[in-house]
């Protein structure tokens, strides 16, 4: 559905994105993850036909975004990050205008507008001035205008930024419900959002793609060691030494003292070994108190920080 090849865009002599290549299949939800200024918005603007790339090609539904810009624009719904709407227009007037320029035939315009408004939950503000709406409703109007002509591809730049937690959940559910027949690209710098809504993630940093996979695979790939957190009551040096003796343990780190005589330890073992049983048996045989036992998974957040910081080093 979307094919991006060696896409590069320079602002002055600084590259905003540098040689990016990826594909998105039909019906997929792809998440763009990256810190602010990583090149997410630039990539999306190019895909939406707002400006052309410096070099490289991007095709949406088989049409080139530069040479066939109008055809591409007919097939996408785009919601920019700042949701720029005409503040002096009413929601109704604005959506009618959008329906008209997007070429929806007069007869079907009304039903399409109603459908989009229902999906985005903006029916109650239909007659109000956009400038007077709350941020959450403006965001929904922004989404409604993107959805209006049933585009094959949806490009959403930071769709949940600036919303309250309840609205964020609603918008996420909406995005998920839209998937299936539509291809969706969304960008965010909030990590849980990606693991919750996207089937595939592209981590982008300083204009380059660092990783591209499903959230689960990213987890697996980057997690070479299994970490287990233990909270044990007992002599710290002795506990560390005994835990280190267990088969398969690579490293034991003593962390902070939680209360008198109770310490936190982190035990690392190779990924494919399950040493939980042995660890507990060791502790019991020495009659030390085990207060907490918790495997530490690596969250997407850790992966992201790890990727971004290793790159910087």
């Amino acid at each position: 559905m979307i094919e991006v090849e060696n896409l590069t865009k320079y602002y002055g002599d600084r590259p905003a994105i540098d040689n990016i290549t990826f594909r998105v299949e039909k019906g997929e939800i792809l998440g763009f993850l990256g810190p602010n200024g990583a090149g997410k918005t630039t990539t999306m603007r190019i895909l939406a036909g707002f400006f052309p790339p410096t070099s490289g090609t991007a095709r949406v539904a088989g049409y080139d975004v530069v040479n066939n810009s109008i055809e591409v624009r007919r097939r996408i719904g785009y919601m920019p990050e700042t949701i720029p709407l005409y503040k002096d227009m009413r929601v109704k007037e604005y959506l009618e205008f959008v329906a008209e320029v997007k070429g929806i035939p007069r007869k079907r315009r009304k039903s399409k507008i109603e459908k989009a408004m229902k999906e985005c939950g903006t029916t109650e503000v239909y007659h109000r001035l956009i400038g007077k709406l709350s941020k959450g409703f403006q965001q929904r109007v922004g989404l409604a205008q993107a959805l209006l002509h049933d585009p094959e591809v949806l490009i959403l730049d930071e769709p949940t930024i600036g919303l309250d937690p309840k609205q964020i959940i609603e918008i996420r559910q909406l995005i998920k419900s839209l998937a299936g027949e539509r291809t969706i690209i969304l960008s965010t710098h909030i990590l849980p959002e990606v693991s919750m809504t996207c089937q595939r993630v592209i981590i982008i940093h300083e204009g380059k793609i660092l990783a591209m996979d499903t959230p689960e695979n990213l987890n697996k790939q980057l997690q070479k060691l299994t970490q287990i957190l233990l909270q044990v009551e007992g002599p710290p040096e002795e506990v560390s030494r005994q835990l280190g003796k267990v088969d398969g343990v690579v490293k034991v780190t003593r962390r902070e003292e939680v209360s008198t005589g109770v310490w936190n330890y982190i035990v690392e073992s190779s990924k494919d070994l399950d040493i939980r049983k042995e660890l507990v048996q060791t502790l019991f045989s020495h009659q030390w108190g085990l207060l907490e036992f918790r495997p530490l998974g690596m969250s997407l957040e850790d992966i992201f920080v790890k990727l971004v910081t290793t790159e910087e080093r």
Binding site: F51, R73, P84, M89, F97, G103
Partner: protein
């Protein structure tokens, strides 16, 4: 074509939901009404004096005495007011960021530009229409020469449309409305008076400068003469400005 109407409709609505169009039109009509009244009062006085003169009345023509100066004055109001109408056309979209959505909708740039231009010309026509009351009043109480009135309005229309085209171009260059208005006003004034410097230039350069002047080309219209060179001047002016607008918007894309 459907896109064109959509843009025109949206822009017209935006003019008339904000106070801009009302204020500009009202002030314009107050000023032109004031000048019309003064013109008529002056003509009355002169006619009265002429009637009392023992040597008989000279050839007093109300179209020549009242309407022709009025058209001159109206063109000066236009010079002052047009930049205020055109300044928001692209500047506002850039400032608010709405241009990003507008340019990702399936509309060609040229259609957007023409739509915005047409809507502003529409406001201008709405502004000009009520002034047709003045020739009608003259027609009711005196004898009106229809020819110079029609050509006078044609001249005003062409001139105003050129002003709008220039304003549209400067609006596409900046995201600050005041800057757009000041630059458009400055350039309009420059085109207005550029002929004056012809007196100090060689005859070739001088006649070139005279031909460049907006003022030079309106004169014939108010006399009742439609010269193709004047019509072509204004049409060229409009087309050039619209073309430059298109280039300026395009350049935003590759400049990044």
């Amino acid at each position: 074509m459907r896109n064109f109407y959509a843009v025109v409709k949206k822009e017209m609505r935006s003019y008339f939901t904000s106070p801009v169009a009302y204020v500009v039109i009202a002030i314009f009509l107050i000023l032109s009404g004031f000048f019309f009244y003064n013109g008529i009062a002056y003509f009355n006085m002169v006619s009265l004096q002429a009637m009392q003169s023992p040597y008989g009345a000279p050839d007093l023509n109300i179209t020549e005495w009242v309407l022709r100066p009025l058209f001159g004055n109206i063109s000066i109001f236009m010079l002052l007011m047009m930049p205020l109408l055109t300044m928001r056309l692209f500047s506002e979209e850039k400032k608010e960021g709405t241009i990003e959505l507008l340019f990702t909708y399936p509309i060609k740039d040229s259609v957007t530009i023409l739509g915005k231009y047409a809507s502003c010309v529409g406001v201008f026509v709405i502004m000009l229409l009520p002034t047709m009351l003045y020739p009608l009043l003259i027609h009711k109480y005196g004898t009106l020469e229809l020819g110079p009135v029609i050509t006078g309005y044609l001249g005003l229309f062409l001139m105003g449309s050129s002003f709008i085209a220039l304003g549209l171009f400067f609006s596409s260059l900046t995201e600050n409305q005041i800057v757009a208005a000041v630059i458009s006003f400055g350039f309009l004034l420059l085109f207005w008076v550029i002929g004056w410097s012809s007196a100090f230039a060689s005859s070739k350069v001088g006649s070139f400068l005279t031909q460049l002047s907006i003022l030079e080309h309106i004169d014939e219209f108010s006399k009742g003469v439609v010269d193709t060179k004047d019509v072509v001047y204004y049409l060229n002016f409009i087309v050039l400005c619209l073309f430059l607008t298109m280039r300026s918007l395009e350049s935003k894309r590759w400049r990044g």
